[in-house]
């Protein structure tokens, strides 16, 4: 095989190799992830080209040095109380369930009364979206989210908080 044909074959294999690498990396991160139930508020279903998703905000009771996050010095959040609360710690410090806001694409906001919130989104199917939208209007909801060992928090599904309604 001459050099040009070899290069062409490699270039054509690259997209397939990239897709396989992405699947492997995501599956590996998912395998070691722990599951949390986090209260959420606010919703805003959208339907852009990229697909249907539900926009929501995680809402936590916040403790620890929240000023670290507000000053942009680099902070991490330690998930506590099953996901209902977070403790702000310096980014370099470890804790049992550490969320890195940058890895999780979370823009944190701190409100008076020691509350923290961060916007996130969940990709949902077209069939599932209307039911979910109704539930979000009717009940307090939680996001069931997974936390990978490298600190990425991602939502898996939204469901009513315990004792409220039925799952979609």
């Amino acid at each position: 095989m001459d050099r040009n044909r070899m290069l062409a074959a490699l270039a054509l294999a690259l997209p397939v190799a990239g897709a396989l690498a992405s699947i492997a990396a995501n599956e590996s991160a998912r395998a070691g992830a722990s599951e949390w139930r986090i209260p959420i508020a606010g919703y805003d279903p959208r339907d852009p080209l990229r697909g249907r998703y539900v926009q929501f905000r995680y809402v936590w009771q916040a403790t620890g040095d929240t000023a670290l996050c507000e000053k942009g010095d680099g902070c991490a959040l330690c998930l506590e109380q099953g996901g209902a609360a977070v403790r702000a710690i310096p980014a370099g410090v470890s804790c049992p369930a550490r969320v890195l806001p940058a890895s999780s694409d979370l823009a944190l906001a701190f409100e008076p009364g020691r509350r923290a919130s961060a916007s996130s989104r969940l990709w949902v199917s077209e069939a599932q979206a209307p039911g979910l939208e109704r539930q979000l209007r009717a009940y307090p909801m939680v996001a069931v989210a997974r936390l990978t060992r490298d600190g990425r928090l991602f939502p898996v599904r939204l469901e009513p908080a315990r004792g409220q309604g039925r799952r979609p």
Partner: protein, 369 residues
């Protein structure tokens, strides 16, 4: 090209005979693709890509994540195999279709992985990942102008979305490198068949973007450029300068001398014009504007002259039009009261008439129209 009327006019004037006209018509009627054809084909491929994206976006519940990912991998492999198959059998447009499908599937795959693994992030990250996975195959296997324009458009979209997201040193350096990098890639790609228009498409996009950037950067002369602004421009200049140097070296080595000189003036002269407009600290005022006019006229004048010598008549006409437009703007900048505005218009008009006279003289001397 609308030939019908002109050919009849030439025959009536006795410039040519019926046999020659038939030969010209037969030559022009061979398989060529005009703007209309590109528009229809472009709409078709856009519809296909949006369709693939919408199918992914529908995120069907009936299929498990594993099946969706496997089906995507299968389609991706089939498209890659299709590109190779059509290339071997010499079916250029079928190969281009398969290559386009491959690129659309890469983008659809990024959206699919975002859905399955609940990833979120800015648009530029998805486009950068797309470019990393698709650009090598398109650069090596693309054969037509349409494919080259598609790749260029995606890279412009990447640069724009990165800029809108805030940008930083790396993003701005890469964006600034895009125009000379397209020219460099067009000149550096290995030799192809004679009917290959991919390189010409890439080259045309690179030159067009360069001319656009140089003309926009000229606005820098209207504003105050501080030492700090200037320093940040120089910090981002190294990578574009490397691409400019590489493209000039390739042009000198491989292109006819007249074209090589034109490429060098457009790229190196363009970089110099941008650097003095944005990288040279200057206050806002008439003096700066005057220097700006001079640099603009020098760049476009040199480009037009060398374009004429290289036989690139469209670029020559564009250069003359750019100079004429700039001369007319002079009166807005330098004259303020009604009387001076009148004088300004007269001066600008005379300069433009002088330009038209010079054009006629040059055209007569060189025989180009």
């Amino acid at each position: 090209m609308r030939l019908g009327g002109k050919l009849e006019e030439w025959r009536a004037a006795g410039l040519t005979d019926a046999a020659t006209l038939d030969a010209i018509r037969a030559y022009e009627a061979r398989d060529q693709h005009g703007v209309g054809w590109f528009a229809v084909a472009g709409l078709g491929v856009l519809a296909v890509s949006l369709g693939v994206m919408s199918l992914v976006a529908a995120n069907w519940d009936q299929l498990s994540d594993g099946i969706k990912l496997a089906a995507h991998l299968l389609l991706l492999t089939a498209a890659a195999a299709g590109v190779e198959w059509f290339r071997r059998t010499g079916r250029v447009w079928a190969g281009e279709g398969a290559l386009f499908l491959l690129a659309a599937l890469v983008l659809a795959g990024i959206a699919l992985h975002a859905q399955v693994y609940q990833q979120s992030g800015p648009l530029w990250q998805a486009l950068a990942w797309w470019a990393a996975l698709s650009a090598p195959a398109i650069l090596l296997l693309g054969r037509t102008r349409l494919t080259a324009i598609g790749l260029g458009a995606m890279l412009i979209a990447l640069a724009a979305s990165y800029g809108l997201d805030g940008g930083d040193w790396l993003g701005e350096t890469l964006s600034a490198s895009l125009p000379p990098a397209l020219v460099f890639a067009a000149l550096a790609l290995p030799g192809r068949e004679a009917d290959d228009t991919f390189r010409a498409g890439l080259f045309g996009m690179g030159i067009t973007l360069t001319l656009l950037v140089v003309s926009l950067a000229h606005i820098g002369w209207v504003f105050d450029v501080t030492a700090r602004d200037a320093a940040s421009v120089w910090e981002r200049a190294a990578a574009p300068a490397c691409f400019v140097a590489g493209a000039c070296w390739l042009a000198r080595r491989d292109q006819p001398p007249a074209e090589a000189r034109l490429i060098m003036v457009v790229l190196a002269g363009g970089l110099a014009a941008v650097l003095i407009a944005l990288g040279l600290p200057h206050p806002e005022g008439p003096g700066s504007r005057f220097l700006g006019v001079l640099s603009f006229l020098a760049f476009w004048g040199g480009t037009a002259l060398l374009a004429l010598r290289a036989g690139w008549l469209r670029l020559f006409r564009l250069g003359v039009a750019a100079i004429a437009a700039r001369l007319l703007i002079v009166y807005f900048e330098l004259f303020y009261s009604l009387a001076f505005t009148g004088i300004g218009l007269i001066v600008a008009g005379l300069l433009t008439l002088g330009l038209a006279w010079g054009w006629t003289r040059i055209v007569r001397r060189t025989g180009h129209g």
